[in-house]
């Protein structure tokens, strides 16, 4: 199956779940679905680790774990309901979750610790950050330390959808941009790619680098559904019945192309 179709199917599954619970963080999940899909289908080797630092996209990871047969459809059917162990933010107890997250700015340093050991075993560590996490001081502590520790087995991917709760980072914190130059100066190898292209993601992830790597993945919040793309309200809202039907229709049609 082509990755584009697979990812749209993940989106359809996310939409299906959105009709059962409110507050799904759908748009943030849609923006990173190609990244997580590529990690599970094309990147992770046995013994590698993946940390979803932007824990609020946990449902996107659950959908991938379901797609890979690690979680059961029945697990996802009770997402965020009494008796379920799947809440919005992934916890370490869930099968397939390497390390639980939730509070922003934690994943990178955990990834550094893991990468220190995994480097000796010739294994890799992948950390997915939201662009908002670049504002956390703890993230910069990790940015400073990974190159000093020569962790060239560590790859950070930033889901750069340029949207946060209070607007675009490019407007609220314009001096943080451009990010790539800053990371390069800090001793990382930086890539800027289209975060919805499986080809570009896997190319960048697998490119040789003797330094730790940061991939700035340009993405669109709400990607794949016309009325959600770059519209802030979809950070948190679930579609109603009519909106749901329209979204399903758009994604199915896109699959037929």
């Amino acid at each position: 199956m082509r990755p584009e179709i697979r990812c749209n199917n993940h989106r359809l599954r996310l939409l299906e779940i959105s009709q059962k619970v409110s507050a799904l963080h759908l748009a943030g999940a849609f923006s990173c679905i190609e990244i997580i899909d590529a990690i599970y289908y094309d990147v992770l080797d046995k013994g590698d680790a993946f940390i979803l630092s932007k824990g609020h996209a946990g449902i996107a990871q659950y959908v991938l774990l379901e797609s890979k047969g690690i979680l059961e459809p029945s697990d996802l059917d009770c997402y965020s309901k009494p008796g379920s162990n799947l809440g919005v933010h992934p916890t370490s107890e869930i099968p397939g979750i390497y390390f639980g997250t939730g509070s922003l700015g934690h994943g990178l340093n955990i990834g550094l610790g893991a990468a220190i050991i995994k480097k000796r075993l010739n294994k890799r560590v992948f950390v997915l950050l939201s662009d908002g996490e670049i504002q956390e001081g703890s993230t910069w502590e990790g940015i400073i330390n990974a190159p000093s520790l020569n962790l060239n087995n560590l790859t950070v991917i930033i889901d750069f959808n340029d949207f946060q709760s209070l607007g675009r980072m490019s407007e609220t914190h314009p001096n943080l941009l451009p990010l790539g130059e800053k990371f390069n100066l800090f001793g990382w190898k930086t890539y800027e790619i289209n975060g919805h292209s499986n080809y570009e993601i896997t190319e960048a992830v697998n490119a040789f680098s003797d330094k730790p790597k940061i991939i700035i993945a340009k993405t669109v919040k709400g990607k794949g559904v016309s009325y959600m793309e770059n519209i802030p309200i979809w950070h948190y809202r679930s579609p109603d019945k009519t909106e749901y039907m329209q979204a399903v229709d758009e994604l199915r049609r896109s699959n037929e192309k």
Binding site: H106, I110, G113, I116
Partner: protein, 323 residues
């Protein structure tokens, strides 16, 4: 005790390559320097970056290592507290957080460098073991509790003092000296008064113990708590039952103190006990001087403590301002 800790850690690391040390720009003296020289790949200096120190330890522990986060106590607990809670305690990871100079040891550096809330903060984290040794012998006991087969028992916090203090008593710790959390330092046959303490301040309570006897004719027993948390109530409450006066002295705020917890349980369990808590009440310590001077100045002078104890024992119904 700082040297003894580093020495024992180095020794353990020779045979156990899971042991890693993650420091936040603290100068490695003595055996810690030897650790750094001999095991450079297991000695990580993150710089002045305490959140990274804790996060990295979490990742190391997730991969099966036994990490020690090592820096000044104030910066090993309060600064990265959320990282300790979310990354370590929530996941039950066997990370050991070592705070050096706990309490008021950094007596000239001011309240930003004191740790008078660490025991309370760490007690709030489910599964966190807390140790506060008073001398080298107790450090040895603590290390047995966190290394080897015990490394998998979850996270721990070690409140360490400074270097060069003498042993409380000459004897090494024998199994019979330990009663739950308590290490018996002074035991009389028929004393009705028990002094409970932990960490560096224990040394001056030996003097208090003598003073109470010579000046006030009050014999008292003295125990330390090398292991502070969890509290083994089923063992220490029966032990406490034979005493009438229970005194708990801590370099800590009252809220969050071990004394407050013991006081509550004693009053719930017995109706005939007098419990006296001597601590920093509800204040930052904005005083300077040597460690001994700052203790004297903060309500821990031996004379002041003795008078407080005697007054309360003679007039048990009188309310003190801190209650």
């Amino acid at each position: 005790m700082r040297n003894r800790f580093a020495e024992l850690l180095y020794k353990a690391a020779v045979t156990d390559d899971r042991i890693h040390v993650v420091v936040a720009d603290i100068s490695p003296a003595g055996s810690m320097a030897k650790f750094r020289e001999e095991f450079p790949e297991r000695f990580i200096n993150v710089g002045v970056a305490e959140q990274a120190m804790i996060g990295i330890c979490a990742g190391l522990a997730r991969e099966g290592a036994i990490p020690f986060a090592y820096t000044i106590a104030a910066f090993s607990v309060v600064r990265p507290y959320e990282f300790i809670r979310d990354d370590i305690a929530l996941n039950g990871l066997g990370v050991n957080i070592v705070g050096i100079g706990g309490g008021l040891i950094y007596s000239t550096l001011g309240p930003t460098h004191h740790t008078t809330d660490d025991i309370g903060l760490m007690s709030l984290l489910p599964g966190m073991r807390i140790f506060s040794p008073a001398d080298g012998n107790e450090v040895e006991y603590v290390m047995k509790n966190i290394l080897g087969d015990n490394a998998s028992q979850g996270p721990s916090y070690l409140r360490l003092g400074k270097a060069g203090e003498p042993n409380l008593i000459e004897d090494v710790i024998k199994p019979g000296d330990l009663v739950g959390n308590f290490r018996r330092i002074i035991s009389n046959i028929d004393s009705k008064t028990l002094i409970i303490c932990y960490g560096m301040i224990s040394h001056r309570l030996l003097i208090l113990n003598k003073l109470l006897l010579t000046n006030y004719n009050l014999p008292s027993d003295l125990v330390t708590m090398p292991s502070v948390n969890p509290i083994e109530w089923n063992i220490i409450l029966p032990f406490i039952s034979r005493y009438r006066n229970i005194i708990i002295v801590e370099e800590h705020l009252d809220i969050g103190s071990i004394g407050l917890r013991i006081s509550t349980r004693v009053h719930e369990s017995f109706s005939d006990k007098i419990v006296i808590r001597i601590n920093l009440e509800n204040s930052f310590v904005k005083k300077y001087g040597s460690y001994d001077e700052i203790l004297d100045d903060s309500g821990f002078s031996v004379d002041f403590m003795a008078k407080k104890i005697i007054n309360k024992i003679l007039q048990p119904s009188k309310y003190f301002e801190y209650e």
